[in-house]
Amino acid sequence: MTHQFPSRRAFLAATAATAGAFVLATFVPFPGRALAQGGPPPGPYDPNLFIRIGADNTVTVVVKHLEMGQGVSTGIPTVVAEELDADWADVRFEFSSNDTAHYNNLFFGPAMGTGGSTSINESFDQMRKAGAAARAMLVAATASEWKVPAGEITVASGVVAHPGSGHKARFGELAAAAMQLPVPTEVTLKPVSSFKLIGTRLPRLDSVGKTTGRAQFALDIRRPGMLTAVVRRPDHFGAAVATLDDAAARKVAGVVDVIRIPSGVAVLATDTWAATRGREALKIEWDLSKAERRSTAEILAEYGRLADQPGMSAIKRGDAAAGLGRAVKTIDAEFAFPYLAHAPMEPMNCVLEVKGGKAEMWAGSQLQTLDTFVLAKILGLKPENVAVHTTLGGGSFGRRANPQGDWASEAAAIVKAIGGKAPVHLVWTREDDIKGGFYRPLSFHRVKAGIDAQGRITGWRHTVVSKSILIGTPFEKMGIKDGVDSASVEGIVDTSYAIGDMSVELHNPASPVPVLWWRSVGHSHTGHVMETALDELAHLAGKDPLDFRLALLAAKPREQAVLKLAADKSGWGSPMPKGRGRGIAYHESFGTRVAMVAEVAAGDTDFKVERIVAAVDCGIAVNPDVIAAQLEGAVGFALSAVLRNKVTLKNGVVEQGNFDDYEPTRIGEMPRVEVHIVPSAEHPSGVGEPGVPPLAPAIGNALFAATGKRVRSLPMELGRTA
């Protein structure tokens, strides 16, 4: 017997007065530090929202997050199954509807969404309560049926039993009655010490589907009569269509329609190949009057000039200038970071169908609520008439969480233009993806820091130049304070290290090049700057880089433990052969502490990363194997940005386009990776992103150890020294 969800309730009644006027007034932004500290507010835990127990004993856990590889579709069911005392072999998962009133991310206020490495963190207590409530309801139903005291009933591995009477039943026999009972207002959670599933290596629930071709991503959705659309977007960001000649495109076999939409020109066809061929036949002249025409070299030069001027104050602690005046040795270091594309393996796409005043979208969306509002506004529908079916996401790294809802809005504009006469599958090609913007922002840092005769940091002046990710989005209100975008300076202003006299200033220059959070957001550059500069100071002070860091973390046992664990497991301090070097880095992001030791073999113009030893403290380790996988994967992902990835503009036009000139890490470049987890009983924090920030500085510091050459900017090109 399966149970129905409660009918969809008023959708976002509190905030959804008008579609499109949606502002996340109470939202704590992804990069916000508050996530890690205060813990999430309570959320609904009615088991009927999150658990369905079938007559066949299967326990289906309804997951409100997007599975994009991070393992959430295993982790959330683990937490539920733990408190429910389910048999793991019976546990399945499915994705929730976009019923935001029930499936909101507790850190995101009234919005459903996956990001900022929040999933386990925000829903750990909520899912435990849901599991415990369901267990209590099973026990209550059983007690009344067997007429035995509830306190004498035991539950283990999906079996409810009353040892005294010998009664025994599997969940499936009891669930129908149990789930009709009132949800307990108080639930008792297990002590951490009695966890049986949490903390063990349970197999991923998505492994079988993903190894048989059965797993369904948005790109795999097929609807009757569906057309495929590709969009020709301008080569220059900010350009618009001036003139369009679509005569040749319309003649391509399979092309059904050509439509102008705000982002460019859409070609609709019976299949993907016809659509792309039709697109190639378009003749378009572009209006470049508002377009970005500069090259990245010019933008970077401007950033460099800005860095020498006073910016907005992000933090001012003590007197950095006076501290620098006291220094006996100083560094003055510049760091440049390129635009980066997320380049998930599954290109952006979604299927949109509008029928009878209702819309349905199938997508690997990280921000279902925002996408709902985007669709509702463009289609002129009420948000409650827009259903978002979350599919598996073929990677994302932040790209499927777009506050501007770029791909959703394209699909909506196309379907609106054809009057909803067919379901439309909007498909981006790889070139669309690499050239399409929403990059990790191009950034420039300048750090002046000094030490005294004892090697203690006396002052730290830091200037960041980076386009704001949050300005102009619904996240602006909470993420921007006094003009300072927290996503540009996170990882600096909240550094774990005791740096007394510190000033951080920010410039956020405007540009038509759209930017977005890219796995670990601001930490993707700030972590590298902090850990590289610290390493330079350690060498300047003549101190061991590990000892130097530990001294700056004197009152922080969790931070120290992570650093020491990575160092110990790596053999830190033992001699390395000539041409090889070891480097260490530590960075906390999204509440998770990660240290890495890199070993590199360096040549004159090239280097190979041979081994990464990582240590992580993410609180309770829900699934240690998934945690290890996320750290391993973060190494592979971040390595490409260390080795070569950059998106560059030449007179405003993106120079890269596919995996030849924007080449992710390949298997032959992958180092050995060892992951060590610090045992903990603290509330869990996320692991999707925190593995990224320490990789680049660990490698750069290892290169310095091997060669004496300091490479500060990314990607690391050995011919270049700053």
Binding site: W273, D660, E663, R666, G668
Partner: protein, 185 residues
């Protein structure tokens, strides 16, 4: 005036004069002159990129083939990285842009040209033990007819073509062969 130009003048002169039977020295001179014209073709990326020891090169910038592929047992790559995994044995692929032609593969191991001096490359060309057991005449036939060689002159995409036209290239190969396949030191 470069040596190459000098030889060309002499050669044209010989043709114009209609010399009925040039002497051995003249044959050798015209053969050498032809070789000098052949060399930039043989060293052009369309040819040299696949006359490599283990890993082919790609593009006019001669980068390592991406993704990295290796020769394998028969010059056609190995297991999941066979040439035919991506390259047609008939034609360029208009959709993926991957080039293709009959025989698409690395040149045999004996025909690795990369890094050779002009003289060494020339001697390799006529050494039957290393050139596929071909006489100079058979080499002419090969460069005239082999689809993979001919592809170099119709490579598609934005790929450049060798500095001589194909007909001219074959003509020079004939002259080189006819003059005794002379090689510089």
């Amino acid at each position: 005036m470069t040596a190459r130009h000098l030889w060309r003048v002499l050669l044209v002169g010989a043709v114009l004069l209609g010399a009925p039977r040039a002497g051995i020295a003249d044959d050798q001179a015209s053969s050498l002159a032809a070789w000098q014209r052949l060399l930039p073709v043989l060293e052009h990326p369309r040819c040299l990129n696949c006359h490599q020891a283990n890993v082919p090169l790609q593009g006019d910038e001669r980068r390592i083939h991406l993704p990295r592929v290796e020769r394998g047992p028969d010059g056609m790559g190995d297991s999941a990285m066979r040439c035919t995994a991506c390259h047609s044995q008939a034609a360029n692929n208009p959709s993926s842009g991957a080039p293709g032609a009959e025989g698409w593969s690395l040149a045999p191991e004996t025909m690795v040209w990369q890094g050779l001096s002009s003289g060494d490359l020339c001697r390799l060309m006529k050494d039957k033990a290393r050139n596929g057991n071909r006489t100079p005449e058979q080499i002419v036939e090969h460069v005239d007819k082999a689809p993979l060689v001919r592809w170099g002159w119709a490579p598609g995409g934005s790929r450049s073509t060798p500095p001589l036209g194909h007909a001219e290239f074959v003509q020079q190969m004939k002259l080189w062969a006819a003059g005794g396949a002379a090689c510089p030191q």
